[in-house]
Symmetry: C2
Subunit: 954 residues, 2 copies
């Protein structure tokens, strides 16, 4: 067994004929190894003796590799001619005088670089070692054996990268602080991060900076090329010129004219593009084609016809291709190019019935068609079968940060891995394999989502697939990479839970659009659940922080503590605000306790940001600066922090009685008594109800609970309440032989008397059916009683996934069953309380149609009746993207499709069928017609079902 030891005799080969970027990366890796072993590897001199040697190089760019190949010691044919592949071999005695070696042989520049970083990772160095200062675990006797020998696969997606965007105030301030600007020095850090994460492609910052001018000059572009980073530009910046360049260079006397207008200033604009191509032609680029208006606006006025727009864009692309042929390569098929089908450009591409779009324009041959998501992480139009074999393939522009509609999210990274998994795996299956680029805003706190996105693109076979649980595996591995060196396993496991918890909160609602009235403060206990998770995060994270060494604090705070606690604290702030608002409206005297608690959260928000920006000598300074509270517009303009509310107590003692989960309350006063009937205990799984005795006055009240029903048990039956006291009512159902109705009174002594009726029943219900209670039936989609696959596909459970934690989806994801006779189905069985109409709501992931047509169908049937097919697009006369429906669904992260069905008393069967691709079913809700469910964001919990003994599909 061959073996290399990482001791004080380790050396690295360096060759002058190597790519300079490769040698630079080797030096980074040497520093990585130093962090692990405490030894700094030397530079090997050809022919000298060496105990442990790292031989690295690129095929046909390395004498060492040629020699090893010539000597039959390694087989370079495994990598030669491939894209970004490397061979990684531990071998003994590769050369005279060398005892042990790792041979890293890359197929090309990036292959070699990935191979080198692979070495670091094998020794436990995180890709975030330099970005977040994640210190590896120190090892006394580090070694590798030939068990790790491998040849890497070609990456599944050709270009994988990110977009630094929306860079003010966060990224911009960070760059100014550390590098004096968004310049080459700054980009060197970004390139390293990109490459370590196995990316290769970048859209640079462009709000107020010009990548090819601010290096200074071309320095950033040159450095990118040296590192093997393929540069491109965002969707509206053609010919390698950033959007702001024209603004700087235009003018009355400018060669480029003074109008960003291809019609009136064709010559100037063409010259502008030509000069951009000339300038950047020697670097590896993917050139953006097309044209939009200035600052990402319409290119023609609103009055222009579709045909005008199509003609213009075709003219533009032809002009750009001609320039590329002239300047870069006559064989334009060799020049990587892209065109982004963003906003209205998508319409021009597809055209309509009267006006064919530019999709068949031969100028698009070999141009990658860049598609995009819906701004919040759900892909829009995917390649249809007709265009699937488009030469040039497809790309995806995906948002983990947004500065635009439906709402901006720029603060703490809010990416929930299962969503990326589901959407990007689907995109890949649909043929989006050429370019994946994600907008990560300022990068800070986006590390988790970005890592997954790039790892998925690099190896979708490993991290994609049809089992969402892969994201749990990923999260574990990721956490081990970042925190493995700093904390014991028990705490690392707590960290993994925190990571799930805070990203799970954000999957329900993002920071900026959280508010006091999102979660109902009481109904279904949803606010308390969010509060419990948030407080759990804050408590656990604070406890873990005490165990973190100073040198690890940079990584701990930036990758866990700040994003998790920042999120949890913000959620807590709004939950408390919601309670404050409701309780003030109800005149609960406890409302007055909240302003101080809210204030603590507001101050804690600032403290957390300050801590993040101060740790590690201010290394993250700038990254915490984005506004993130109480957006009322799509961006932070006119945003509002919580309003705090204070009440006056009533002049006399006052009792309010409220179920813990209901905003309706009783006062038991003479004229406005509103007695309630509680029916929960008819549910087999409910044998207790919590309710609150609440004071509406500074003066306490005394209470006594009376009942004639011996089967009603109270946790307390008398006392005095100054603010609030929670009472639990319980029933020993084993004593019940039949349904019973009882009453009890809560007397506020000397004031009034509340009257409550309680119904309860023994837990004796039909098996295998979800049971209606309080007028509704709620079923998690994963809890079907049966599924039926067809040879063409079938439902699988997604978990973890979505707002409620799980869902079902048809696989293969590309299959369309709308016009099939046999469709996959999931069956749900439930018991309705009576014959009659019910509102049936399917809660779906807020997907968008996979085609440009505003159509995405679901289908179902009740009790074997005719299949009902519904287009989930509410307004099929306009594109789904940018519709009101899109906006609403994107904010709440759910698509609700409601229809009226007839149910029969007793057992019913609901079949949900596979129809259009992209449909993900999360929950099913049936509500008896005329019944008003209590208002809530997440809806009720799942209904009760009793299984036969051997059953259960969990």
């Amino acid at each position: 067994m061959s073996k290399v030891s990482f001791d004080n005799r380790l050396m690295f080969t360096y060759e002058s004929k190597s790519f300079p970027g490769v040698n630079k990366v080797a030096s980074l890796v040497r520093e990585d190894l130093y962090l692990v072993t405490g030894f700094r590897a030397g530079e090997y001199t050809r022919g000298s003796k060496c105990r442990n040697l790292i031989i690295f190089g690129t095929v046909d760019k390395s004498d060492y590799l040629k020699e090893l190949e010539d000597n039959g010691i390694i087989d370079l044919e495994e990598v030669r001619g491939k894209w970004e592949v490397y061979s990684f071999q531990v071998i003994d005695r590769p050369m005279d005088g060398v005892d042990h070696a790792v041979v890293i042989a890359g197929s090309d520049k990036r292959g070699t670089i990935y191979g080198l970083f692979h070495l670091s990772e094998l020794l436990g160095v995180s890709p975030l070692v330099n970005w977040n200062h994640v210190l590896p675990k120190k090892k006394k006797n580090a070694f590798l054996t030939d068990e790790v020998n491998m040849v890497s696969k070609e990456p599944y997606v050709k270009y994988r990268g990110f977009f630094i965007n929306d860079e003010w105030p966060a990224f911009g301030n960070w760059a100014m602080e550390h590098f004096g600007g968004i310049n080459a020095e700054c980009y060197e850090r970004v390139f390293e991060l990109l490459l370590r994460l196995k990316g290769n492609y970048l859209w640079p910052a462009m709000w107020n900076s010009n990548f090819s001018m601010d290096g200074p000059g071309l320095e950033s572009a040159r450095l990118a090329d040296e590192f093997g980073v393929v540069m491109s530009t965002s969707h509206h910046e053609p010919c390698m010129r950033s959007g702001e360049e024209y603004r700087l260079l235009r003018g009355k006397d400018s060669l480029y004219g003074d109008a960003w207008d291809f019609i009136s200033n064709r010559e100037g604009i063409t010259r502008f593009w030509r000069d951009g191509l000339l300038r950047n032609k020697s670097f590896e680029n993917v050139i953006t084609l097309g044209m939009r208006g200035e600052r990402d606006s319409l290119i023609l006025s609103k009055d222009a016809s579709l045909q005008d727009n199509i003609d213009l864009i075709k003219d533009v692309v032809k002009t750009q291709n001609d320039l590329i042929k002239e300047i870069i390569d006559e064989d334009i098929s060799k020049v990587p190019r892209q065109i982004v089908l963003f906003n209205e450009v998508e319409e021009f591409f597809y055209g309509n019935e009267e006006t064919p779009g530019f999709m068949n324009d031969p100028e698009l041959d070999n141009v990658t068609l860049m598609l995009s998501d819906n701004n919040v992480g759900y892909t829009r139009t995917l390649p249809s079968k007709e265009i699937l074999d488009h030469p040039g393939g497809f790309g995806m522009y995906y948002h983990m940060d947004m500065h635009g509609g439906p709402f901006a999210f720029k603060w703490i990274g809010s990416t929930y891995l299962p969503r990326v998994w589901e959407q990007m795996t689907q995109a890949y299956e649909f043929g989006v394999r050429q370019i994946w680029v994600t907008n990560v805003g300022d990068i800070g706190t986006q590390e988790l989502g970005l890592s997954y996105f790039l790892d998925l693109a690099y190896d979708i076979d490993k991290w994609g697939g049809s089992d969402a649980a892969i994201t749990e595996k990923y999260m574990c591995e990721w956490a081990e990479k970042q925190f493995g060196g700093m904390l014991p396993l028990s705490l690392r496991n707590k960290i993994k839970k925190i990571l799930w918890d805070y990203t799970g909160l954000l999957e329900k609602r993002r920071h900026e659009i959280m508010n006091y009235n999102v979660y109902h403060p009481l109904h279904f206990g949803e606010a308390d659940k969010v509060l419990e998770i948030s407080e759990g995060i804050l408590k656990e994270a604070a406890a873990i922080k005490k165990r973190v060494a100073d040198e690890d604090m940079s990584a701990f705070i930036s990758l866990l503590y700040y994003p998790a606690c920042g999120t949890a604290n913000l959620m807590k702030m709004w939950i408390l605000s919601g309670k404050n608002e409701l309780f003030a409206r109800q005149n609960r005297i406890e409302a007055n306790d909240y302003p101080e608690e809210i204030d603590k959260c507001v101050r804690e928000d600032a403290v957390l940001i300050d801590e993040y920006e101060s740790v590690d000598g201010g290394y993250y300074k700038g990254f915490g600066k984005s506004e993130h509270v109480g957006f009322v517009n799509w961006n932070e303009e006119d945003n509002k922090y919580p309003v705090r509310h204070l009440v006056y107590g009533a002049n006399s003692p006052r009792m309010l009685v409220s179920r813990a989960d209901d905003e309706n309350y009783m006062t038991g006063l003479e004229w406005n008594d509103h007695p309630q009937t509680w029916r929960d205990m008819l549910r087999p799984d409910v044998d207790s109800i919590a309710f609150d005795l609440i004071s509406g006055s500074e003066k306490p009240f005394r209470y006594r609970i009376h009942t004639d029903c011996s089967w009603l048990l109270f946790s307390k039956t008398e006392g005095e309440v100054a603010k609030r006291e929670r009472i639990t009512l319980s029933v020993n159902k084993s004593l019940l032989s039949d349904k019973v109705t009882g009453t009890f009174d809560i007397e506020s002594v000397g004031i009034g008397c509340v009257h409550v009726t309680v119904e309860a029943a023994p837990p004796d219900v039909p098996k295998g059916l979800y049971i209606e209670s309080d007028g509704y039936i709620c079923i998690e989609a994963r809890h079907f009683s049966d599924i039926k696959d067809t040879p063409k596909g079938g439902f699988k459970v997604l978990a973890p996934y979505g707002r409620s934690g799980s869902a079902i989806k048809v696989f293969p994801v590309t299959a369309d069953f709308k016009d099939e006779k046999r469709r996959p189905a999931a069956e749900y069985r439930f018991a309705a309380s009576e014959d009659g109409e019910y509102d049936l709501t399917f809660e779906l992931a807020p997907s968008t149609p996979v085609t440009f047509k505003p159509e995405q169908y679901i289908g179902f049937s009740i009790n074997g009746k005719k299949t009902v097919i519904i287009n989930t697009v509410e307004d099929p006369d306009r594109p789904f993207f940018l519709s009101r429906q899109w906006q609403k669904e994107a904010m709440c992260n759910v698509k609700k499709v409601t229809t009226c069905v007839k149910c029969v008393k007793g057992a019913n069967s609901l079949m949900f069928f596979g129809m259009s691709p992209g449909i993900v079913l999360e929950r099913i809700l049936l509500v008896k017609k005329g019944m008003d469910l209590p208002k809530s964001y997440l809806g009720p919990g799942e209904s009760y079902i009793s299984f036969c003994e051997e059953e259960g599909n969990e």
Copy 2:
């Protein structure tokens, strides 16, 4: 000229044959004179010498009077046999040894008493001398000459009185405090008050007290009779037994049985009534007939048919009449009786098409039919022509206090005199002349309204009529009576203004249903107007208080300071709360100034009550106790004081720009700029606009105002704003030759820029037309351009009146023009901006139909087109009273009838016609279709009109 001097030689005659109550009253008058003169009059011994003598007595109950009559010195025939009349004569030498005398000769017991109190009043003693301890002005040489000689008229209304009701916590606590209960000692004070105010009739307190049991025993009833007070009972207490008596006396072994049920317990109930009649038969009573359920509820279940109910009530009345015949007088026509047509009893009385009501039941002959108001001061059904000559006549039960729907008002008296004038004069004209009784709750702070009500009933010729300004005269005289002795005229005039101001505020909205969201905090400046009036009251009242002597403080606080300041402070509290709520919602940093201001008001409310209850050795203790803040139900249950709101400033400086009268604001931020256009200056009467620069952050902003328009002038163009700065934009219109449009920018330096467009025009508009601006035309009803009377009636202006201060109404008030060919009309001329549809709203007094039918019509025509007739009752299928419309109108004190009309560009004429009686038109509003007027409670101010030089109808 005969003359009596009120010197130390003044004496009073006393005769043992006189009514004891008369002699008691004479003693009260002697004490009154002592307060004026400092001399206590002696008791005259027949035959002795006397310089100045007060001879008083009742015709045929006085030897003195007989002697004077016999001697031809006075003419008793002027009074003999009349109802409550007195002759008041100053004469010299009436008898031997007597130099000068006042002879007071009453036609009956009360006539004599009124004559005696008339003497006090002539000497400047207020009727409230003992109730509010109003001290008269001291006079050194008081005298009367024969210039005051007169014979009083019979009162216009036979029975005039009030109802002590809703007596807990206020009246009850007051009575307990001073008299140990609601007993005879307590009632003696009440009787005196009633008689001094020229009343004669009383419904006693009955919540928890029994007038004929708690005296102790019959003492209160006996005393009432002694004083000449005619006792009755409220609408649901038949046969002189209070409502609670049955509860006390019922039982299994009770003679009266144990069910308040005339069907199952006919014998017991009949016996109960019989015993009541027997007990009280020797006193002067008006006996209530009929029957309702216990505690003023339904007598039969909801399922009972109309016929069942009618049969029952007829049976009941017959039974009661039979008892009265048996016990009191076989000639029942001599026994004053009443039946109250309250709530559903009104329905039984009228019946419907299938089922005739009990209105023609001969048992009702000579029974007074008591009608009622709508609980808030607008009379309901009035006698129709068919029943006008009902033997027994009609009465009115009128609320100045309410404990019931649509809302309770029990705190400070909220009666606005013009409303009482208009409604009760109308009732009188319709024939309601037998009984007037007003519910005054605890009496405390109701003195003004009660005085007017009783004076009006006593002499409607003097205080009624068709000119509402009579109420101003009344208020002046009333104020002079109460404050004439304590303050100089200049301050008394301020007091008169305060009285109008605070009752005017209450005419707009009563205390209990005032809230933060009644007046819009900004729109049309309505909140600021209320705030200005309120603060004016508080300031002036405090200043006057410093000038009031300690001994006058009881009267000053109880009759002016407390009711006025209590009202003003409450209004101020809610106006500030409204601003706080809106400003917090807008994130104005100034919002944070309000909680403390609100808190001051909340504390001031308690201070004012405490002052009222403490002054004069705690004389008013109890009267301030009613809850009065933030009712959310009809009563105080679950009422809520203002919520106070606190905001956080934005993290960066933030400017909000808002017109002083508009809740919409501009931030001038890049993406969410909402530039406004201001068109007010197109109005001829507007040449300036106030707007606010408001900070949304703790950090101040700097601003600069730029414009290219030299005609736009600003009160300030740059500065720094920490909270708010008001800027006035003005235009010198004399420089304009045509309509102009200009723009200006308000730059918040370094943040954003607000853009405003301004339109202005020279003040050149057609004469004699109300001019549309901002899409609406508003006209005060009194500002007609013309009126046309018919021989049967015509419109007259009412002022002061209603929410906006004036109105018009057809006189005579009984005239119905619906089916007439010639109708009175008022014409309004206005200029519309364009041809098109307008929403035409008539703002009317919230009257109820004068008949039982749910019909009350208005009529109008536009530009000579066909007359449109509208039933103002929205749902004519049910009685108006207790409808949703009734509730809404009663709360807002306005009836709005909206219809769509077509106007032409330029001059239009609107004719408003007299139709149904009871209609009072306050304002007319035309709003261009599709235009949304800013939300407000009172609506916009009046539109502009330019008169020809000699014109003008003000």
